[in-house]
Symmetry: C2
Subunit: 106 residues, 2 copies
């Protein structure tokens, strides 16, 4: 079964301490076993016109859509979602099965 990715592109509110949000997510992804990987980044390169005010990308991968659903329903995720939502100025969120064209070497 294809891996499943939960992708969040976000601009946080100005007063938000992004490190605190990341720490909360770090705690969450280790609490929930079905999260296979979690990586994030702060855009430093793209043109403002293309970035459109978004500053951070957060990506979680799961072994399957079922594993993703288990994460979504997990009480710790539900709880942290409230904190995360309150920190957001704008967001784009995509959930999709991953199609790997040129896979990472393993």
């Amino acid at each position: 079964m294809a891996e499943f990715t939960h992708l969040v592109v976000v601009k946080f509110k100005e007063e938000v301490v992004v490190e605190d949000i990341i720490k909360g997510l770090e705690k969450l992804v280790f609490e929930v076993d079905t999260v296979k990987s979690f990586v994030w980044g702060n855009d430093i390169e793209s043109m403002e016109m293309l970035r459109q005010g978004f500053t951070h990308a957060l990506m979680m991968t799961f072994g399957s859509k079922d594993d993703f659903n288990a994460f979504q329903a997990h009480p710790n995720h539900v709880e942290y979602s409230a904190t995360f939502s309150a920190a957001i100025e704008k967001i784009v969120l995509l959930d999709f099965p991953v199609v790997a064209i040129k896979p990472m070497p393993t």
Copy 2:
């Protein structure tokens, strides 16, 4: 040195055959050696309110920012960018060094 990610979130124009765009990208990532991985996906899950009309995510990773710069400057990339740009209705693009919190098992 941290890996570097080139992330594109996009809505293609209605008349675009997405498979053709992906085929072009597939060709490109095998032509340019510095592209370490390329995965993509078509959102099937998120709420329309959060997806905001975007439908596809495309992610390329590179071993370093220098490798990403080499890709950006590669003539095949420059050439394909024109085709890609013409297919886009809207786009968000982020380029960032990857911070891995819970890495994929290797």
